[in-house]
Amino acid sequence: MTIEFERVTKTYGGRRAIADISFRVERGAFCALVGPSGAGKSTLLRMVNRLVPMSEGAIRLEGEDITRLEPVALRRRIGYVVQSIGLFPHWTIAQNIATVPRLLHWPETRIAERVRELLALMRLDPGTTAERYPHQLSGGQQQRVGVARALAADPDVLLMDEPFGALDPITREELRIELGRIHQATGKTILFVTHDIDSALEAADVIAILRNGALVQFGTPAEILARPADDFVRDFVGGAALGLKLLAQRRVAERLRPEPRPEGTPIPGDATLTEALSQMVLRGTDRLPVSDENGRITGSVALADMIAP
């Protein structure tokens, strides 16, 4: 489902919390909303499922204006994951995951099947997890259930409001990778609020950078790194490390020369340029042999080519 923001504005008592924001997220894209706290990321996200009413402008899902839809019905079509996780403590994991399917009156057999499917997708053991209560699970497991619950009725859009913000860094990274895998497998359109620009650069297809309620830049990670809109974006996305982050967005194969083919252990063509640079530093060389997926040498990559824009 495409998500289109058109001149979206939100005023709270005369102050514009969201000012005139327009951008479009393509079907199946992973879009990160980033910015410092207070930038309006969550407010913008919560307008999509009408938890926050907008003052002006329009949001369209697959071309359909969301204000034309009944809010409760709209929300049942959109997956929603929040930082506080928000599992119902008096319901078992299976009951929690079944929330929206139950609201939609799915038959019980289909619900049970869907719950098993989602537990497996989130790498939770259905045998030991389904009948437990949320407080019996770790924070990471709880948020896996939170994601499973959001996916339960197979919505086309997933709204995630700093979903991994309250988890420890290792669990957060694990879940981020998991989410990438699920995004690949399901093709959902995801709107993901985070203040962590690095995870956005790594995971997102497109990034919307917000500041003081305004959209300062919208584009792919590579576009934003290569051409930051202003000094704020430049500092926000990388500051001094901007160049290295840009290298991390590019693959060795993009800078491959068929000749010459130097000796030594080759670097795979799908490695990032950061990895190539790292190898050059370690080996004290300015040129590395490059191999394809079969391990055959296909050419080389040179430092001079890597630093070209």
Binding site: R75, V82, Q83, S84, G86, F88, P89, L103, Y133, Q136
Partner: protein
């Protein structure tokens, strides 16, 4: 779990002792006449001889049941209203009223009801209901208010309607707190219904008040034993319901 610990638990269960004791005193109080005659030789007859204790208890229980039911319905209704969007502005007023009301002694509520309603069960019923509403309402508000905002946000965001959120999330999570309010309300009412006999309501207070007025301490003790055991049993039942409501939080 071994059989022995099951047995031990059953023996230790106070309900197992309280219920037979209550049944014995309610049904067979006259059988204790020789005992009371020895303790209070001046009192004749030695055991209260008005309505039977079973009848007194039934009147008492009916008075408490009807007034507590009314109090619970009004209390939960008011508490839910005060936590809705439309009722939010009334919440401080309702809470203040509940606090002031509870600092009022029950006997005063009773005394105020008589001029309006005359003597008998009616003023007692009204006083018990009014007095019983307060703890239920206060706890309903507190219970619903204690539901984390994130839970409400997640529920609404997933597409629960306001009514579904109330019935499926807010009330179940507030249930132990609301139950504690009902428990206070019922316990106070069991006690206050006794005092209701001063304004002419028939209850287990009848032998107690009559005994106090006529200096027949035996009747006071007889009434007090039955009403005391009744209160203990009801309290134990509430404790059991409470444990059941919180069951989900106990597993680990």
């Amino acid at each position: 779990m071994s059989e022995r610990s099951l047995l031990a638990r059953a023996v230790c269960d106070p309900l197992l002792w309280a219920v037979p004791a209550f049944a014995f005193f309610t049904l067979f109080m006259p059988a204790l006449a020789p005992l009371f005659a020895k303790a209070f030789p001046a009192t004749t007859p030695p055991v209260y001889a008005g309505d039977s204790f079973l009848a007194l208890w039934l009147y008492h229980a009916a008075l408490v049941a009807v007034s507590s039911l009314a109090a619970t319905v009004i209390g939960i209704g008011g508490g839910v209203f005060a936590t809705r969007q439309a009722g939010l502005e009334f919440r401080p007023a309702i809470e203040a009223l509940a606090t002031i009301g509870q600092s009022f002694p029950p006997i005063a509520v009773l005394a105020l009801a008589v001029p309006a309603l005359g003597y008998g069960a009616a003023p007692t019923f009204v006083a018990l209901t009014l007095y019983g509403v307060l703890p239920v309402m206060k706890n309903t508000i507190a219970g619903i208010a204690s539901v984390p905002a994130g839970l409400r946000d997640a529920g609404t965001g997933m597409g629960l309607s306001a009514l579904q959120l109330l019935l499926k999330v807010e009330l179940p999570l507030a249930a132990p707190t609301i139950l504690a309010g009902i428990r206070v309300s019922v316990m106070v009412n069991i006690g206050t219904a006794t005092i209701g006999s001063t304004v002419g309501a028939v209850s287990l207070g009848t032998p107690i008040i009559g005994g106090l007025i006529n200096g027949k301490i035996g009747y006071v003790i007889q009434g007090a034993i039955v009403v005391g055991l009744f209160a203990i049993i009801i309290d134990l039942i509430f404790e059991r319901i409470d444990r059941r409501l919180r069951r989900f939080a106990r597993r680990d």
